[in-house]
Amino acid sequence: MEKNPDTDPRETLKTLPGDDVRQIMWRYQDRYDLQMLIQSSRSVARGIVARLVAEGARNSHDWTAEKNALLPAFDAAGITTCFMDPQQGGFIEGPKNLALSLVAMELAWVDAGASTCSLAGNLALSPIHERGTPEQRDYYMSRCVPPQNGEQRKIWRGAFSLTEPLPYVGVETGLLSGKVSIAEWGVGQEPILQVEKRARFITNMGFANFTTAAVESADPRIKGSCIIILEETDPGVFDRGVPTRKMVHQLSSTNDPVFSLKVPASRIIGGYTVKDGVIHPKFNHSEIIEAVFRRTRVGVGLMTAAKLLSAVEPIIRYHRNRFRGAASVNPGTPRYDQGLQQKEDCLQRLVDIWATGEAAASLGLAAARLFDELDPVEKIKDQKFAEQGIAPGMAQMKAFRGISKQALEFISLAAQPAAERDQARYEALKTDAVVQYLILDSQANVLCPATKLWNTGHGANVMRDAVSLMGGYGITEDCPGFLGHKWMDAQLEATYEGPEAVQRRQLSVTMTNEVFLAVFRSWIRELRLIGTERPGIGADTLATAMELWSWTLEYLQKNTDAHGAKLYHGNRQGVSFPLADALCWLVASRSQILDVLELAAKGPANTVVAEGLDGLVNFFSDLCAVQAASAAGESARICAESVYGYSALPAGPGGKGPGDQTDASGAVTAALEPFVRLRIKLDASLAGSRLAKDRAAEALTKVMIPEALDYPV
């Protein structure tokens, strides 16, 4: 019998979404290796990690024996090995961005410091993995694999030494005080280098056997900068330094080390050539850092996403049980059964937290999957360029300028119906690895900093809301789910691997890439189609908000302020940075909608998921609508401030100042009419978004949750 929407209640959330739901939404339902890795990471997170936090291990800066027990636990669970390729002792084939991101989420669900501890080992290896010679890769990565049955060797662990003592490297990675010079260079011999490096806030330094250190040449016989591998047994000083007195992430070891070591030149990551008696490292430190951080930053952003999602269950339980136990509150009464969930405010605020967590997770995992797609294409691109003698850096940038036209052509063809486009040309461009690289890369260059910036920065603010929903309990060590710790930790996630300003700076450049903007326009078209098929999911709202953002960017790029100064300019961060923030809201909301559509499409094929699918999709669609409305509102506010805010104040009767965008009657000029129309359209598109929030809030009062949290407090 068909349902009657007028009389049948709308299906909604029955239980909290489980693994089978997440596997579909986050696209690893066919990846059994990842599903198992998640389970093993979870057992570590909700076992030893949770016990350490509950026992107060975070109350010390030092790397204690208790904390050190994390390392063998990571080894046994496959967390250490998942970064390696099978020939190096790993068990996951192919790119591992999604795998590492999922591990980061699982650990951060309980404690982000433990997650950082795990990721930092990979970070140390990443320069070697991304740009090392084959010999360097095999040597170091195989040593970082835990000993297998019967092997008698010590596992190596690494640290990545980039940051230096203040006032040097922080935001500006181009300045290095660490130096490298030639100590000995016998005729026909490999040069021996003297490395002097002081570093700050170096994760894993309390136990690392080697470090990858960024240094600059202090010798005319070495060109530029490089990253070099230092081992604890190298001659000289390998001083781990004092523990950093950080206030968060205490389950990761962080020290301020000092190195003064002699090492062979073969330790330069990526190798070197000698020209006219000068050592030319194949990659300078900036090139390596760019290759490394553009991937690892995604995992950091996902830590905060996991924490937001982890807050949902403890908050619901706290609200429901809030008054139980009081003598005057008897079972069967609303106060006993519903507790604080009788109050709309706490329900709706939790809806906002959950919606933010969903959007953050969807954005970060979309970025991780994109990098998995990009990695093999990048290798083909590198190979093709090498065959053509096109070196990394400026030469590649120049080559890309010609290829970007083909990328734009492909994006245009892809938007046309297959029957109407030049299919042969479409196929040719589709199989052109360099063209595809350019398209994927343009997206990765936005999604990665967006994940890092929005998930951690906005996520930290929303974590504060989560803490406040637990009342005084939230700010104690006893808070179920460790929410207070998670809130504080989020501030470091916003800082690690490039603070917010670095991400905004990167976005302000990459979001104006013409290839990205063409992709962005295709996303708007796609959302319009989604909006037609699923009107309640917020896609139309988001599409309009994206049009408004797009219009605003173009306006700011072409216009000047009231004083005639260019608006969109590299140094004018008051214009470019807020627009970057606005974009993050939009791409996060888009990713969230796409994940829910994936669930709706693939869920029916899974008998378990199909059981409660209608309700789940309804609920998640409501969360999408809530988030799209927030994203549209925030983005539109920024756009309006940017467009109007640089105009002169309306002049008095008869007068008109430079840049004044209003006529004598106060109406906007024709140039701004499209903006006004879009804003009106946007406001109207919010219809139903608050009803969606009401429904989602109501669902929180009914959803079944476990009797207790599955990790200690």
Partner: protein, 270 residues
């Protein structure tokens, strides 16, 4: 007596014990509210049996372990992502219902049929393991009927320890009243052991073990035969939660004596 074994472990899934389990009435009989949507785990009793089986197999090279499991295929697959990481085994999956309201005689028949159909199974080396009872229902009847159908007369229930002697015979410790064990000797196979908790800790997850197991687990799930458990003739006059409920509370640094006293008081109220 053989020096290597064919160990068949019978075990399925149960809802994660942390979940809220609420009986409801459906058109087909009683069920747990949203049971299919709740996360599941391998039945802890069957889990002990599996870990004991793997331990025994490891000590006796040439042995092989099968896990025969009836449950909803998609749910079984989810649970295997954890279980398959713990010890090596080959899965024999049967797509059917799992839960506390299925007729144990029918489940036993399906399990016995699956065991009889195992290619290369040597009954002279056969040990059938399973949970003495189940976390979904403490009737303790299924495994006994599996044994009967397979013609296994040497059956031990509530087993905590199985020790192989140098001559190949083995000693079995079965739980009896008063925290004591009944000690038995068995000199011939096949035999059946319904395990209590055993003595082994749960092995840690190891994805590399899992990757090896997955070579057979996934194909087994794909070819899992559907089986119909009709529950014909079975009626449930009433279904309810135990009246005596323990409310979870969190108290730090409570002395063990106080904890024990509180538990005794709680039991005494029943």
């Amino acid at each position: 007596m053989p020096t290597s074994y064919h160990i068949v472990v019978c075990g399925s899934i149960v809802p994660d014990p942390l979940q809220t389990l609420e009986p409801v009435t459906t058109p087909t009989g009683p069920a747990l509210k949203n049971e299919l949507l709740l996360p599941a785990v391998l039945d802890p009793w069957a889990g002990h049996a599996l870990f004991e089986a793997a331990h025994l197999a490891k000590q006796h090279p040439g042995s092989k372990v099968w896990l025969v499991s009836i449950g909803p295929k998609a749910k079984l697959q989810q649970v295997m992502m954890t279980v398959a990481q713990k010890v090596p085994f080959e899965l024999i999956a049967i797509d059917g219902p799992a839960g506390g309201f299925t007729e144990s005689a029918e489940i036993a028949a399906a399990l016995a049929e699956a065991i009889q159909g195992l290619p290369g199974l040597d009954k002279s080396r056969l040990l059938v393991f399973g949970g003495w009872e189940s976390a979904t229902r403490g009737a303790g009847t299924t495994l006994q009927m599996v044994g009967e159908r397979l013609g296994i007369v040497d059956q031990f229930q509530g087993v905590d320890q199985l020790t192989v002697r140098p001559d190949g015979s083995f000693q079995v410790l079965e739980r009896i009243e008063g925290g004591r064990h009944q000690v038995s000797s068995c000199g011939a196979l096949p035999a059946l052991c319904g395990w209590a908790t055993g003595n082994l800790p749960e092995p840690p997850n190891n994805p590399q073990v899992g990757m090896l197991n997955m070579r057979t687990v996934m194909p087994a799930l794909q070819r899992a035969k559907p089986t119909k458990i009709s529950n014909e003739g079975v009626t449930f006059p009433s279904v309810s939660l135990p009246k005596q409920r323990r409310e979870t509370k969190i108290v730090k640094d409570m002395p063990p004596d106080d904890i024990a006293r509180e538990i005794v008081e709680w039991i005494g109220k029943e």
